[in-house]
Amino acid sequence: MEEKKEKNGFEPRLVGILCRWCSYQGADLAGTSRLKYEPNMTVLRVPCSARMSPLFLMKGLTSDIDGILFSGCHPGDCHYISGNMNARRRFVIFKKLLEFAGMEPERIQMSWCSASEDKKWADIVDSVTIEVKKTGPNNKFK
C-alpha cells in the first residue's frame, strides 16, 4: 500500500536547464500569456544548450533529482550558431549510455523550444512531469 500511495502521491522533483536566448524566453512568454502547467520543475538558466554538459545529467540523477530536462533553441536558431547541434550529440550519446546502465529513459529528456513557442513549453513540462510521475521516484542511489 505504501508503495502505491507513494506512487500516486509522489511529487517528482524535476530540474529544467534552459538556454537563455530561446527556451527561457519561451518559458517567460508562457508566463506572460498565463498558461498553466505543473509546478514540479525548477528552472536553471545557462547561456546556451551547449553549456549543458551531459555530466550535469549524471550529477543530477545521483543527487536524488527524479528527472532532468535540457531545453535549447531549434537547429539553426542558436544564438551561438552551432551550440545546440554539439549539445544534441553529446546528449544523445550520454543518454544512450545511461539507458544502457539501467536508468529509465524518461528521467533524461531534451527538447527544442524557441522564444515564441510558449504553448509547446507548457506541454513539455506537463508531459515530462507525467512521465516521471509514472516511472516513480529515483531511489537508485538511496
Binding site: M58, M85, N86, R89, I93, F94, K96, L97, L98, G102
Partner: protein, 285 residues
Amino acid sequence: MKELIDKAKELLKEKKVETVIGYREIRGCVVPAYVDSPCDADCLIFDKRCVYNLANYLKWFKNKNVALVLKGCDAKSINVWLQEFQIKRENIFIIGVECYGVMNEKSADAGLSDKCGHCEAHVPNIYDAVIKHQGDKKESVQGEPFKDIQEFEKLPHDERWDFWKKQFEKCIKCYACREICPMCYCKECIVERNIPQWIMSSPSVKGNFEWNMVRAFHLAGRCVECGECERACPVNIPLMKLNKKLIKEMKELFDYSAGQKEDVKSAIDDFYPEKDIKIDDKMIR
C-alpha cells in the same frame, strides 16, 4: 621473430630511436620490454600472449623518439593521439605486427579474446614497418560484433540496473582501467578535481557509478577496443561491455569509428547540418 629483432637492432644501431618498446618473456609470462642497446634486442618476441597495448607507455615517453611494437588494434590508439595533438608523428617509429588474435588471460581455456572475434585490423592502419605473421593465418570468425550488446539492451531497465549495480559495487577505485588505457593521458584526471567535486572519490555505489559513466563517456568515439581495461580490472567488471555499447552507437548514429584517420574531427565534436541526422526524433521533443 627474427624479422622483429633485426628491425629493432637496425633502428637502435642507426640511433633513429632511443628505445624500442616491445614484448619480452620472463619466468613464463610476457612483460613489456624496453630495449636501449642493439645487443639486448634479442629478447623481443611476439606471439598470442602479447596482450598489452604498448601505445599506453607513450604517456611516459612523450617527447622522446621511440619505436613501438604495435598490433592492429593498438596502432589505432596512435591515430587518436595524433588527432588530439599529444605526440608528433615523426617522434615515433611504429613497428606494425600482423596479428591474428591474442589470448584472453581471464578465460580458463586461454582462447582468443572476444575483441579478436570480429577484428578487421589484422594489419595496423598506421605503421612505418610491418612484420609478417608466421603462424596460421586463421581468418577471424566474422561474428556479428555487437550481438551481446543488442541482447543486453533487450532486458528491462531495472534488470540492467541490478546487473550494473552489482558490478559497480565491486569496484575498488584502483583506477587500473584508467592507467592502462592509452586514451586516459590527462595531466589531472577529472576524478581528482574537488572544485567542483564531479565524481565522489570514495568507492560508494554513487561514486563508482559516476566514475564508470564518466570514463565510458570520455571514450565515446575514442575507444579503439583494445580490451586492456577489462583485462586489468582486478575484480572482473565487464568494462568492454560499456565501451562496446558506445562504439556501436557512434557507428550507427554518426558512422564514426575511432582511430581510422588522424586528421579528422572527432565525431563527438562534429555535427550534421540540420536535416539528415540519424538520431531519431523521439530522443528530442
